[in-house]
């Protein structure tokens, strides 16, 4: 009988050698005349263990990781196919402490099912949300999403149902659902993991959105840096069409919906929703002034819902299990679960989905295990390149939109990048300004020119030139960028810069006392 093994084809696993491991397993099995079937899954999200090889045994799936090509022969000798003992054996992946502490809704299937198997998806609860959505009808779908308290996971935390209602109420011959899968923030990879590990879930979420607002066409806009995600998504779309779950009369209903994947071209600002729409239309990715809102005049001037991947994949769960169940997770006005991504200089990096309210310290130290280098943690940048550097003495901060905002920080797309003591905060502040100048869409002066000035001023500070005066200039500049920028690229770049300066003034050649005097 053939034994089933599972090896991820998630980009992270592949980048860590998963394809080579698969070839080595096939060769080792062949040499032994043992038939094996290798299922390529998404990743479980314990990324320090990738490539994580799992074998199906009567007791359940047993994992081994991180497996290198050279480990395979030894694993076979240790009885890999029977779940035998070995230094890399981690037991049942779902019982690993990293997994056992999570609340997985949107990532429940990721790493378990074959992302290219419609059958697997349905067998693991897929399309239950759409089924209920079809029973409820548009108005009640939106009501359910509203009750759940779902807020956009792309960064701004805007209530999803309000957006949907606006598009539903707009009169037009054509409407669109656009999925923002541009995931440009360093330290984030949840959208990628969903597209590679559970793409039908995104198709289901977008289809429900289409039915709710009366849109028949959807686009997934993702990055050219994500070729594996694009392949996985396109394949799933094809399969869904073949099963009548995309195209005319979805699942036998009177609703029609189809979708396409589109690829960006290396512009961070195209993650901003209006720049994204311009890019989709075939233009430069410049930010549009609002109003009009995309909900009124979006893609090709038609009413458009634009949502992040993680917002859209929450929807099938809200529909399938009811708004109340979703609402029961979380704290304050941050409801449901958040797929948090732990990255950078960290021991146990990966994807951790949990209810809002967990503290940053728990995430970095308990779950992430501190730094990979073994040196003490210095700070964590949360929320991507526009997010603040949070120093260790603020690690009691709970993951909650409002709590972060109160500390001049943001959750953004849920990425945490851990830095150890060796981090040079002046350099990180400079990088923030430089990134802004490289990626600015060019529409407003504070962002376009201010960021270039910012780099120059920080260079002067770093070389010890008129430090006190230049710090005043830098703070003024940040203030101007905050107030005078059309979008958050120029408007939020001051957060990483000022947080570095506020929490680590001595690195800028300033003492805290002098800094206060300058204020």
């Amino acid at each position: 009988m053939s034994i089933r093994l599972f090896v991820p084809k998630d980009a992270c696993a592949i980048a860590c050698g998963a394809d080579e491991v698969v070839a080595a397993i096939e060769a080792a099995a062949l040499r032994r005349g043992q038939a094996v079937e290798i299922v390529r899954t998404g990743s479980r999200g314990m990324l320090w263990l990738e490539p994580l090889v799992e074998v199906e045994t009567p007791a359940g799936r047993i994992g081994y990781g991180p497996v290198e090509e050279g480990d395979v022969e030894g694993l076979f000798e240790a009885g890999l196919l029977q779940g035998g003992d070995h230094g890399l054996r981690i037991g049942k992946p779902e019982e690993h402490p990293f997994m056992a502490r999570q609340t997985r809704l949107t990532f429940a299937r990721c790493g378990i099912i074959d992302p290219a198997s419609y059958k697997d998806y349905v067998a693991h609860g897929g399309y239950k949300g759409l089924e209920r959505a079809l029973q409820l009808g548009p108005a009640e779908i939106i009501e359910e999403v509203k009750k759940s308290g779902l807020r956009g996971r792309g960064g701004a935390g805007f209530p999803t149902a309000i957006k949907w209602k606006t598009v539903a109420d707009a009169q037009a011959d054509r409407k669109y659902i656009v999925c923002n899968a541009d995931e440009g923030d360093s330290g984030t990879f949840a959208d990628r993991m969903i597209m590679e590990g559970d793409p039908f879930q995104l198709i289901e979420g977008m289809t429900i959105a289409g039915i709710a607002v009366g849109a028949t066409k959807g686009f997934v806009y993702t990055r050219s840096e994500y070729p594996h995600a694009i392949w996985a998504m396109e394949k799933a779309i094809e399969i869904a069409r073949a099963h009548g779950m995309l195209g005319m009369n979805i699942g036998g209903s009177q609703h029609s919906f189809d979708m396409e994947v589109r690829m960006g071209a290396g512009a961070y600002v195209c993650g901003e929703e209006t720049a994204l729409l311009d890019s989709l239309e075939g233009g430069r990715g410049t930010v549009r002034a609002k109003p009009p809102l995309p909900a009124h005049k979006g893609l090709f001037q038609k009413p458009t819902v634009i949502n992040n991947v993680l917002s859209l994949v929450a929807v099938p769960h809200i529909l399938a299990d009811g708004a109340q169940k979703y609402m029961d997770f979380g704290m304050g006005r941050s409801r449901g679960t958040m797929p948090i991504q732990i990255a950078g200089n960290v021991k146990f990096g990966g994807l951790f989905e949990t209810a809002f309210g967990i503290t940053l310290g728990e995430l970095v130290n308990d779950i992430g295990g501190g730094t990979a280098s073994g040196r003490p943690v210095k700070a964590a940048q949360v929320g991507g390149p526009l997010g603040a550097y949070v120093p260790t003495w603020q690690f009691d901060l709970p993951f909650d939109y409002e709590a972060f905002a109160a500390k001049d920080a943001l959750i953004g797309h849920g990425g945490i990048v851990v830095f150890d003591e060796a981090a040079d905060m002046v350099k990180m502040a400079r990088f923030a300004m430089e990134f802004c100048s490289v990626e600015s869409c060019g529409k407003c002066t504070p962002c376009r020119i201010g960021s270039t000035r910012g780099v120059e001023v920080i260079d002067r500070i770093a070389s010890g030139e008129k430090v006190e005066q230049n710090l005043v200039v830098l703070k003024d500049l940040c203030q101007t960028m905050k107030l005078g920028s059309l979008c958050a690229l120029g408007g939020f770049t001051p957060y990483p810069v000022l947080s570095a300066l506020t929490h680590f003034p001595e690195e800028f050649g300033d003492t805290p006392r002098r800094l206060e005097a300058a204020e």
Binding site: C16, G282, G285
Partner: protein, 157 residues
Amino acid sequence: MPHYEPWSEERARTVIGEFAHLEGPLMPMLHAVQETFGHVPDAVVPMLAEMLNVSRAEVHGVVTFYHDFRHEPAGQHVLKLCRAEACQAAGGDALAAHAEHRLGCKLGETTADGRVTVEPIYCLGLCATAPSAMLDGRIVARLNERRLDALIAEAQS
């Protein structure tokens, strides 16, 4: 090694034509041109402008906006090193310096023999197993000096 075709107007028309039926076809067209010829030659700009009924200046504006689109062909191999924050936190700066030293050129440049173009990239979504790189479309994580040297050797061979 990626294989690109020599410029041919006829071929360009065919490649572009495949996307003519799409809504908002310009970006897919530009990607297809670059995939075919290795860069976006000036000669396609008037072709695209005509086909899409927009001005040449508009098409030119789009091509130059995006970091991905090359005006000139790259070296035979393209090595992209992630320079975003998570990779910096995990030692990416030293690796970038090492690559520049080994190749004798700066990020954004091509080696004198035209073999390797080395470029910065901002996040490959592999941030939990940083630092990361991409060689001709193949992604590599947990980069260290030994792995980087192997990639460079592969690119130079």
